[in-house]
Symmetry: C2
């Protein structure tokens, strides 16, 4: 009995695209046998002719124009791996309009236009799969969609950006400053020429939006995600973190609270004993807290051609199963509109605070009084280092609402013996 | 448009069954909405009438005889949660014969009779789902079946037994001996009255068989799994492990080597820096090494009613999607017969070895010579503690084949100045 051949079109021969093409051509027989499918890589599009020619495919299967590919009636599944919003969005829309299933690794697009594209897919009885958009090869989207379907998820905490995790690991393990660690990350291929989207937390915020959308079933507005990067973290902060038995990680945190959804990306001190604390170098991890399942964590390589390609191929198999009639894929996730948000000002944290002050009597009394007046209770005070003439003072607060802490800090910074530009880092609670 | 109602029969109201019934009755609307299904808990069977009466279900839905449930033509899906081989096997076979999909958490049965049951399911165009059989609420089976489908998996290393991990964590963190830690585990509900299947490694070996079967696509013969438990581990071994920057964990390791599959469960020293080292208390984790994906780890609660129930319910949704026409579930996994095995004697490890010897000149020279003669190369020698009149000697070897090491150890043990009953623990490499 002949199986229906499923024809695949691949757009984008960059790092991930190259790996997908390589794995697909190399492992095709095994993938087809395991999944009982007949997949074929039919056409590949890239503007760079050189990249196309490296493939063991006849010339008529190679295209410079990706729009030609999404209009080819022979193609059943389009894999979009060019990234960014346009022309990726137009290509995916046209692919769906033309009745093709879509697989993508495009986190920016899914985070910001996911609802529009999923709605179109739903209307056309198709689907979009995006396992590769978050966490590279770590299975995350599928576990959230299927495995944890019966649970109420309370919190998702992720180390979602390999570049910043590599930098923070170097700072922590080699005692480097931020700039030195960034240079090392560049040297080892873990940071791009322009690392701003990574180090400023935007990359992680897109991934958080995708995970939170699935975990809480809500439409997420990018403007409501608090984003703070790691450019202000110093070697000194890393050392103080160690003293209180913590490490600093860039965390992406999504929570469902009674009042709404809270979403934030910021550096945080986490206790050494927490499973996320040992996620080092370029590795990513997502820690999920469910009402019934308790704590679950997924860990692995969050980037890189081959790891990410395994996620693309798992989506490809899922799409192909829909086409070959093994599954009808009616489970296009729905994100409810009208999401309520809790701004970070209303969240409670413990805060680490480091500042410089004149080294004279009365300083401790002065800032302690301001904090006390604002009901900010201090858990720890460390004063043991001098920077030139000044005393370096480190405080850790008990749990306090962010707005109350900020108001108190504003007042403290008005004290004449305190120097400006304090360093503030939240502790994970 | 009316959806087809999918009627569920639940067998076994123990810890997991109770949680499944509770979550199902409590979250049913949300599960149905998310998955676009119309699931109903139709009947529940248990020999204990008291347990049944605790459910908010009318008397005609409660059964003392599980066979009556699997014969009820109204039931679409049977959830088997009684555990053990019989009558579970007969119940599942009859359920399949009667055209019902099956969900089970029964690791013993799937490990030893999985092939027979899957074959029957395949013949009947049905399927058996068993996500809950390994790792409680941690999504493992589905990632292995779907997410990593395009990759070649080389190794699966798991901490698969919560009882032993709890005991080893207590020994390590509280300095307790094995018996004291076991008593504490019992007190806190992490060890059963008869803990032998846990502490002797059999429980972990069943789970390993299931994971390895999926990861390598092979039929696994229980007799070919090397199993060694943790009853011989002492507080002294734990301390020496710490000195070489390791922790001791009961590992279940499956590998695909060029010569065949190697499967083993034994305590192992793993470096502190390895992600598995921080898996503590009753938590489980599975570390997977794939050719393309690299290292991936899944972590969570490996047991307990509610965590395990989330896995059962995710399977239930998958089964219900098959029935309601959302999926045809033709992907019943196939395990190839004729598996070749590599016995542990042919595997290479680094070994930790602790023994007592007379404290006199020539001892070191004597055993060193024997090891040297057998080409067992020593990486570390520690002699710093005395036990009564005797010197305690600790060695760590370089990589050496197990049979060569054992032969050398036999000879060392024949030296008259060496006392019998050495302690041997493999290091994870």
């Amino acid at each position: 009995m002949g199986k229906r051949t499923v024809k695949v079109g691949l757009i984008g021969m960059g790092t991930i695209g190259g790996s997908v093409a390589g794995l697909l051509l190399h492992n095709l027989d095994r993938i087809n046998a395991k999944s009982d499918l007949d997949l074929v890589l039919e056409r590949v599009a890239d503007r760079d002719e050189g990249k196309l020619k490296s493939l063991a495919l006849p010339a008529e299967k190679l295209l410079a124009d990706a729009f030609e590919l999404v209009r080819d009636p022979q193609i059943d599944i389009v894999i979009e791996l060019i990234g960014g919003i346009e022309p990726a969005r137009s290509l995916i829309k046209e692919a769906l309009e033309n009745g093709k299933f879509v697989v993508t690794a495009n986190k920016d697009l899914i985070a910001t236009h996911g609802e529009e594209l999923l709605e179109l897919a739903r209307r056309k009885n198709l689907n979009i799969f995006y396992e590769a958009s978050v966490g590279g090869g770590i299975p995350l989207i599928r576990p959230l969609k299927y495995s944890l379907i019966a649970d109420r998820l309370k919190r998702v905490v992720g180390i979602l950006n390999g570049t910043t995790n590599y930098i923070l690991t170097c700072m922590s393990q080699e005692g480097l400053g931020f700039e030195e660690a960034l240079a090392l990350a560049r040297e080892n291929g873990f940071a791009e020429a322009d690392p701003s989207s990574d180090v400023e937390g935007r990359d992680a915020s897109y991934k958080l939006m995708i995970l939170a959308g699935l975990a809480f079933g809500k439409v997420i507005d990018p403007a409501r995600v608090y984003v703070e990067g790691i450019t202000g973290i110093t070697a000194g902060d890393i050392n103080y973190a160690r003293e209180i038995d913590c490490v600093i990680k860039l965390l992406a945190i999504g929570e469902e609270l009674p009042e709404g959804i809270a979403l934030r990306v910021h550096p945080a001190m986490i206790p050494h004993s927490h499973p996320l604390a040992s996620v080092n170098n370029e590795f990513n991890a997502v820690f999920i807290e469910g009402e019934a399942v308790g704590d679950v964590m997924f860990y692995g390589r969050g980037a890189g051609g081959n790891p990410t390609a395994t996620a693309v191929l798992s989506d490809l198999v899922e799409a192909a199963r829909c086409i070959s009639g093994q599954s009808v894929c009616s489970m296009v996730e729905k994100h409810a509109p009208g999401t309520k948000y809790v701004p970070i000002e209303q969240l409670s944290s413990r805060f680490y605070l480091r500042f410089l002050a004149e080294d004279r009597p009365g300083v401790l009394a002065a800032f302690s009084k301001v904090f006390g007046d604002h009901l900010v209770s201090l858990d720890m005070v460390i004063q043991k280092r001098r920077v030139e003439e000044l005393a370096e003072i480190v405080l850790v607060t008990h749990l306090v609402r962010e707005d109350a802490f900020r108001k108190a800090l504003d007042q403290v910074m008005k004290l004449e013996m305190i120097r400006p530009n304090p360093s503030t880092i939240r502790l994970m609670v």
